[in-house]
């Protein structure tokens, strides 16, 4: 077959057809194998000028991808065919992720603020000037208040720990990580030493899902669930106050009241133990409590109590508990929904009891440990600085900075947009705008987010298509290593993170005398990547980095089979996962057992056994029960983090976030579908439209996050024809002329008061609100908050944390 580019062969297609002759030749040459299960991307690779392998930037699970290029630009992306989990499939966000690279609103040059902070006026400066200014600021901060006054506020880290190395090189421990699955991760970590579970959905017979919208947020898991349901008739039961896509397509949707999942799980575990359905041998051998002790402990969590708190009938909880314990193998999944409350860590620990007491751990179709591929840090490794004494959780950082409890000299912001997506977003803005609290701020960013807009210097970062880093999934039965390499030419003066950090270090340490330079001793980031990759045992023998670049993720498990739709091994047999990982080396805890009794919690003065306490964030003031709702928030398949908010296709599909409210509750207040409503929390109110629906619990209202931007880009702001003068001249006529929607949503985080989970320090994402019809004069999108009240919540949190 001749080598043709994608556009070329679209043209050929068009031209052949246009010539009038129905192209029988093409038809005769068709050789699609059965079913569409088999398709061969290697052949695309031949057809298309250039193809490369990478790993998608979004989602927790990461997706290995194959991308296709034209003129140095990625034009489309597909999943990696032989990947055992995705089998070539990719989620909505992954399919369009590459558009970020060519986004006309990208930051392409180093920018320096003009005028006051937040005025959003910028001057282009050279990299040299930018680096010099940053180095100077770091030097001044270090001289005045010590290295720890250099702060990093980041979202997800890049995979090879460049930031950690950078901060350690400077001698600073001051890292604030803003992700809202802290409760989940802490609960997992404390219990069995890992931060995430791997549910073996494809082989399960019964699947309990607490507060995850996994059909939209974990696409690889969703694929496995679909397999389990289709091939094993697995039953999927979803607990969620709102009928998410997952809940709506489950076999059973259980509309649980927010914050009560932990108690429901404890009551279920209690039922299972009482009914003699528990695997006592497993509990006695593999956990640090005896079955007898656990049974005694659990007996306090009655079905009646669970019914009262969760709103689910005791009989239903009992039935599901018994089904779960008898239908084996069974597995559990949970995510941010269940755990982003002040009782998040407890909740996660309670949920984990279900697979544990039924002995569904590390069995086929059960609840498994992650299988990881690890690599070594590039030598030499900078020493870890002494941790700070104040013990500031990420959630409290802005308050600590404002009140001077921590000293901030320079603040680096990377890959997180707290001014929009964190709880108490207005307070974050207030603090970041305050030059006393944050004297100097550097944002390393791809877009001018609400947070970057408050910086003094904005540095243009590379996207995943323009960087070098190893990536491995945290949650897979078949561990793999993929790499991101530079597959597309970076536009403008964009540089990749590692290079930026290296250059700052080199500017700080021109002669190498403070000894920083040696930790950053590389010319080309590929050098660094090779070192990471080469440290992995066996990989080198399989061809190392070059093999991954040429053939996709390592190891090579086999090839996708057209007939079965499964990846088969070299002998043509279905891949078999290995189970019973814990039998080799135990669990990754100090005791090598599952720590149902958690010593470190006890030391913090918290109950060491899994318990349930009412979520503080959902406590309703006495006498206010009537008219109060629990407000919850969620994500959709078309947002990823909230990084996708300037992607035209995703925003077209999903651009507003009207407030879900149950029809009965709404009707009682004379609110009809589409009416303007005012939602008030203790810190302020916003005005949005009511989505009157049957698909949410009557005592709960919900809004999706990630909407209502005033920054990021033209699509996000919904100002398709207003180009800021500092962006490149590039235009997308499609955005300019065809953007049709008139509603960009409202950001609920503006009225989200700060609550945090004691054990994990992670912020809660739900709170109590009142709902009323909009008052005269209210306009859609109105937001009114009181920063002083926001601050009061921080003060409060300081006391209980």
């Amino acid at each position: 077959m001749p080598r043709v580019t994608r556009r070329r062969f679209l043209q050929i297609g068009g031209a052949a057809l246009a010539a009038g002759a129905v192209p029988k030749g093409i038809a005769d040459a068709m050789e699609l194998e059965a079913g569409g299960r088999s398709y061969n991307y290697a052949r695309v690779a031949e057809d298309r000028k250039k193809t490369a392998f990478t790993v998608s930037p979004f989602a927790k699970l990461k997706t290995p991808q194959q991308v296709f290029l034209e003129n140095g630009q990625v034009v489309s992306a597909a999943g990696f065919l032989n990947h055992p989990a995705t089998r070539g499939r990719s989620a909505a966000i992954d399919a369009v992720a590459h558009l970020t690279a060519g986004d006309p609103d990208r930051v392409l040059h180093p920018l320096k603020r003009e005028g006051n902070r937040g005025e959003n006026r910028w001057k282009r400066i050279s990299w040299q000037e930018a680096l010099a200014e940053i180095a100077k600021a770091v030097e001044v901060a270090t001289a005045q208040s010590g290295a720890a006054s250099v702060w990093l506020v980041r979202g997800e880290d890049t995979a090879d720990g460049a930031w950690k190395r950078y901060m350690h090189t400077l001698g600073s421990p001051s890292i604030v990580s803003l992700a809202n699955d802290g409760g989940k991760k802490t609960g997992q970590k404390l219990t069995w030493g890992e931060e995430i579970e791997v549910p073996d959905f494809a082989n399960a017979r019964y699947i309990l899902n607490f507060g995850s919208n996994l059909y939209e947020t974990f696409p690889a898991h969703a694929a496995a669930v679909a397999d389990g349901r289709a091939e094993r008739h697995a039953k999927l039961v979803t607990f969620d106050p709102r009928m998410s896509m997952t809940a709506g397509l489950s076999d059973e949707w259980v509309p649980v009241l927010p914050g009560s999942d932990g108690l429901v799980a404890l009551a279920m575990a209690n039922v299972i133990m009482q009914e003699g359905l528990a695997d006592t041998a497993f509990i006695n051998t593999w956990t640090n409590v005896s079955a007898e002790k656990l049974r005694a402990h659990l007996s306090q969590f009655t079905l009646e109590a669970a019914e009262k708190e969760s709103g689910i009938k005791a009989a239903v909880i009992k039935r599901i508990a018994i089904e779960f314990a008898t239908e084996k193998p069974a597995t559990v999944f949970s995510y941010r929904g269940a755990s982003s409350h002040t009782n998040g860590t407890d909740t996660e620990r309670a949920l984990m009891l279900l697979p544990i007491v039924t002995g569904n751990v590390e069995v086929k179709g059960g609840y498994c440990l992650p299988r990881r591929i690890r690599w070594d840090d590039v030598k030499p490794v900078p020493p870890i600085p002494a941790t700070r004494k104040e013990g500031i959780g990420g959630a409290l950082f802005p308050h600590a900075a404002k009140t001077g409890k921590v000293k901030v000299g320079v603040l680096f912001n990377y890959n997180t947009n707290p001014a929009h997506s964190a709880a108490a977003a207005p307070y974050w803005r207030e603090v970041l705008k305050d030059e006393k609290a944050v004297p100097f701020m550097v944002a390393i960013a791809t877009h001018m987010s609400e947070t970057a807009a408050l910086a003094d210097i904005v540095l243009p970062d590379a996207t995943y298509l323009e960087s070098n880093e190893p990536v491995s999934s945290p949650s897979s039965l078949f561990p793999w290593l993929g790499v991101r390499t530079v597959v597309a030419t970076a536009p403008g003066e964009v540089r990749e993170l590692k290079v930026i950090l290296r250059d700052i270090v080199h500017t700080l340490d021109k002669e190498g005398s403070p000894g920083m330079k040696r930790y950053w001793d590389f010319q080309d980031p590929v050098e660094w990547l090779s070192k990471c990759v080469d440290s992995i045992p066996r990989l080198k023998a399989d061809g190392g980095l070059d093999a991954i670049r040429a053939n996709g993720p390592w190891p090579h498990y086999g090839a996708l089979d057209g007939k079965t739709g499964k990846v088969l091994d070299g002998d043509g047999k279905p891949l078999k996962a290995e189970y019973g990982k814990h039998r080799k080396a135990g669990f990754a805890t100090a005791s090598k057992k599952i720590e149902i009794h958690c010593e470190s919690l006890r030391q913090l003065g918290l109950p060491p056994l899994p318990v349930w306490r009412k979520a503080k964030n959902l406590a309703v003031a006495q006498g206010k029960e009537k008219g109060s709702f629990a407000f919850i928030t969620f994500k959709t398949a078309y947002q990823a983090g909230f990084t996708t908010e300037n992607n035209k296709y995703l925003v077209e599909k999903d651009h507003h976030n009207h407030c879900f409210i149950n029809k009965k509750s709404a009707t009682a207040m004379d609110i009809r579908d589409g009416d303007l409503i005012r939602i008030a929390s203790s810190v302020g109110y916003l005005v949005t439209k009511a989505r009157v629906t049957q698909s949410i619990h009557p005592q709960v209202v919900a809004m999706a996050g990630g909407h209502g931007h005033n920054a990021v880009g033209r699509v996000a702001r919904m100002e398709s024809r207003k180009r800021p003068e500092w962006v490149a001249a590039a235009e997308d006529p499609d955005i300019r002329f065809n953007l049709w929607w008139e509603d960009k949503g409202v950001n609920p985080n503006e009225i989200m008061p700060l609550f945090a989970d004691t054990a994990s320090g992670s912020t809660a994402m739900s709170f109590v609100v009142t709902v009323e019809k909009a008052r005269t004069g209210d306009k859609y999108g109105d937001i009114k908050t009181d920063v002083a009240v926001h601050e009061a919540f921080f003060k409060n949190a300081v006391e209980w944390l």
């Binding site: 068009g14 246009a18 398709y39 669930v225 349901r229 599909k653 629906t693 300019r736």
Partner: protein, 281 residues
């Protein structure tokens, strides 16, 4: 099935040895409503905003707490008796012997007779501006069953990205193919069978109500969906001088007159633009 003449149509290859006969089966029992199909298709063809070759229909059905979701991905059905083909005056759109209903972009005049003809709303007119200026504009477009991929041994882009493997594509003439076995084994149905089009996109687990019923699609819309559609009607640039925006005042006698006058004005401006006297772009 008796054979009917529906205009420009190659002799059908169904059952002809050695020939291909493509069809799609969508297994709604597997579909997770993830939307990957729609996004993959948008990028594959660099589709402009406001048009879709495949889209998700989504419905909430029932009363709390007995509610569930119904999700149906919809695309051109590559009908065996395509009314669109029959009504195209320029022979621009035609039925390929191997099953595809295709458009010859160079022949299409953008008269939209085929759009009116299609009972499934599967066709759209491409707007005059798009990201890649090399690609067709102002002509009718729709799902092509990805013939450019299929003819090279690849599954259609939507099928290839379907995370839950709910979409199956293949050759009905091959009894071994998964589509052929599914058609035999499963209870399949098609959208609007009463239209006499013999659709070749088959669904497993489809029910004929709600979102698959054209009237319910109108009467049971959420207000948000209706408002979005109205915004779309106001703002899209798509040679449609008759989109009636609904609303109490908008469809009163005065409001209606205003809308009609507005459309006429748009049409006249459009004429000037086509002649090249003015440019809104």
């Amino acid at each position: 099935m008796s054979s009917r003449s529906y205009g420009l149509q190659e002799p059908p290859s169904l059952g002809v040895a050695g020939r291909k006969r493509y069809a799609m089966v969508v297994d709604l029992r597997r579909c997770t409503g993830c939307g990957a199909c729609a996004m993959a298709c948008k990028v594959e063809f660099d589709l402009p905003l406001g048009v879709w070759r495949i889209w998700l229909k989504e419905e909430n059905r029932g009363e709390f707490p007995n509610v569930r979701k119904v999700v149906v991905p919809t695309l051109c059905n590559h009908c065996d008796y395509p009314i669109c083909v029959r009504n195209c005056p320029t022979e621009s759109t035609y039925k390929h012997a191997d099953g595809f209903v295709l458009i010859r972009p160079n022949r299409c005049i953008g008269c939209r007779a085929c759009i009116v003809a299609c009972p499934y709303n599967a066709r759209h007119l491409l707007p005059a501006a798009r990201t890649d200026a090399q690609k067709p504009t102002s002509i009718t477009d729709k799902c092509s069953f990805c013939i450019h991929r299929v003819s090279r041994g690849l599954a259609p882009a939507c099928v290839a990205s379907c995370t839950a493997r709910a979409m199956i594509f293949g050759d009905l003439n091959d009894p071994e193919s998964e589509v052929a076995t599914l058609l035999l084994k499963e209870n399949v149905s098609v959208l609007r069978p009463d239209m006499g089009t013999a659709p070749q996109v088959y669904y497993i687990g489809l029910d004929h109500g709600g979102v698959t019923d054209p009237i319910a699609c109108y009467t049971d819309r959420s207000v948000a969906l209706k408002d979005d559609f109205n915004a779309f009607k106001r703002n899209h640039n798509g040679l449609s001088f008759g989109d009636i925006v609904e609303g109490e005042n908008e469809t009163s006698a005065l409001g209606f007159t205003r809308q009609v006058a507005g459309h006429l004005k748009d049409f006249i401006v459009d004429i000037f633009e086509k002649i090249g006297w003015v440019s809104r772009h």
